[in-house]
Amino acid sequence: MAVDVSTAAAPAPSPGVAGRSLAIDVRGLEKSFRLPGQKIDSLKERVLHPTISRDFSQLRALDGISFEVNQGEFFGIVGRNGSGKSTLLKVLASIYRADAGLVRMAGRLAPFIELGVGFNMELTARENVQLNGVMMGLTRKEAARRLDAVLDFAELNEFVDLKLKNYSSGMLVRLGFSVMIQADADILLIDEVLAVGDASFQQKCADVFHDLRGSGKTLVLVTHDMNAVDAYCHRAILLDHGQIVHEGNPQEVGRHYLRLNFERGETSSAAQASAGGPAVRLVDIWLEDAAGERTNSVELDDDIRLRAIVEADRDTPAPTFAFLLSNADGVHVFGTATQLKREAGEPDLLAAGSRAKVSARILNPLGSGRYFVDFGVNREHSQTDNVIWVSKAADFVIYGTQAQTGLIALENEFEAVIEDG
């Protein structure tokens, strides 16, 4: 009984799912835009068409969005282009004003719509870091104090008094990311900024995100890259046409997202079907770990296990299935192909309506970094007669702790000794 009384007496902070307090509480958010092209841009138009402003056609970018994020949670917002995810982020970040609905947050928020936005190229790194800190809500003193931490992380200490216009793009990315990490906000809002920088920088970002998890900070990641969500987030929502179509753990959301994408693909291929369009569809493609669980990362030295399921809409004789791996720079690092495994007497045919599961285990000598998987099916065992080819059907990260030079990690024995003499 005493427990009941105490919870009733102290309603705030409001309890979230796991008994934790909420960091973000969004209720019934709505936002519409006027469609471009009808925007009145000059007084003349306004004078000539005084009534037009009353019948704009509206685009509903957010249509009744409600969700909660717990403190310390990493939360993903996923959706295709135009699903409303960026609008949602901008409403959360107080850049857009919602037409209706309520947003509540606990603590200081640092939004990062773009790396290094607000950097002034005419100013030095020192001045920019300070300006940026104040923009993130720090006092000028705090901002000055965190300068060293920012520069250390970005490894740019020697360039502190160099104007940003003289920075390379890589240095700018590092500074932008570093400023973000050191913002020391309670809630980080991040939009698609992970997909920048070279592999070693990506690795560093990955490490930072792993560190941030469990530090009590709340992070909202807005992206159309399911792998980032899979790798970092505890929970995610999937947006489509301004509404939440699924909410749950990243794997579930990822499957819904994939389905959403392939459904669209289907409609377009159905249109071409009469013109001899693809006879085979990629139903699913994923990576597995040794235990058979879906994963998006592979440890250095561990095998790469690729899986795909295809379904034939029409008979496809003598199919060949192929995986092609490329690294982040688009260099093809490895390709492999196989034919249908069958018992004696079975026809070499993927019949209409049947499914095939494709599995490949690849010994992994690859260096750490992000890799993309292309998947294709050819017929008549030909090299050129493509039934489908899906570029970047999946991607994954190979991570390892050791710094390494070069594309691949080859096993080697290596020693240096003092020669007796």
């Binding site: 934790r20 939004p111 936005v117 300006l131």
Partner: protein, 283 residues
């Protein structure tokens, strides 16, 4: 208690969305100060002669107008006309530079407005601040010139801040109106370019108020800059000149300028508050 629960639980607060001054007053003033300082530095770092250039514009304008009005039109009967003209031009240049920079300021900072949580009011205000720095710097040579011209320092010089305050007030108000309207109506830039010329000749700068014909005087009453120029003439240059009220012919007529001034300020606040939340979408 479980370890997973974090040590401090922060309370939920309502998020108000974008506004003119959003994000707390300390952050607002810190940002304003930093942006003004960097703007000011930018103006002078990029050029070889720096500060010198901010003097050139009013100096050239002054020289040309001085020749025109003393050698060609031969305006007579105005005591200390050259210094009066100089002071007027420095004030007017400040007003015009700030307002014409402010027109495009919000649009020019599109990146910040659309991608960060930024109090919108800071942007035009930073333009005003930079203008104030410039004006103060330009007033130094003006006063040297006034002394060199043989005008003895007088106690009314101490009232200069009042004049500056009035000038800064109307400049800020106009800057806010223009910067907010320009986001939606790009014609504003063109209109304001023309208005600059109208205001230069439509203010008692090139001529004192009392030298203007009756009809022109009536028009001048509607210019909120008029009292600023007439009063600065009395306080800074020529104590025998009438004050701002007497010069225009009494309180009734003087109150027209005051009313226009106040109306501009109220309009500025109203327009900017109304437009600020939607600026990011309209850009």
């Amino acid at each position: 208690m479980s370890v997973a629960v974090r040590e401090r639980d922060l309370p939920l607060r309502d998020v108000q969305g974008p506004s003119a001054v959003g994000g707390g007053s300390r952050r607002f003033f810190d940002l304003l100060l930093l942006i003004s300082i960097t703007d000011f530095k930018k103006t002078y770092y990029g050029t070889v002669l720096g500060y010198f250039w901010s003097l050139v514009r009013p100096a050239v304008m002054f020289s040309v107008l001085l020749v025109v009005f003393t050698q060609i039109f031969r305006l007579s009967g105005v005591a200390h006309y050259p210094v009066l003209l100089l002071l007027g031009i420095v004030f007017f240049t400040a007003f015009q530079e700030v307002t014409s920079t402010a027109v495009t300021s919000v649009v020019a900072n599109e990146g910040i407005v659309r991608k960060t949580q930024f109090p919108r009011l800071v942007i035009p205000l930073a333009t005003v601040m930079t203008g104030i720095f410039n004006l103060l710097l330009n007033l130094i040579p003006v006063f040297i010139f006034i002394l060199a011209f043989g005008i003895a320092p007088m106690w009314t010089w101490l009232l200069l801040p009042l004049i500056l305050l009035a000038l800064i007030g109307v400049t800020t108000a106009v800057a806010l109106i223009l910067s907010a309207l320009y986001v939606r109506f790009r014609d504003v830039a063109i209109i304001w370019g023309v208005m600059g010329t109208v205001l230069l000749y439509g203010s008692p700068i090139l001529y004192p108020f009392d030298k203007a014909p009756e009809k022109v005087q009536t028009a001048l009453l509607f210019n909120p800059l008029t009292p600023i120029f007439t009063q600065s003439r009395q306080w800074i240059i020529d104590p025998s000149a009438p004050n701002a009220v007497a010069a225009v012919g009494g309180w009734a007529r003087f109150s027209i300028s005051v009313f226009v001034y106040a109306a501009i300020c109220v309009t500025a606040v109203w327009i900017f508050r109304r437009e600020a939340p939607r600026i990011a979408e309209d850009l």
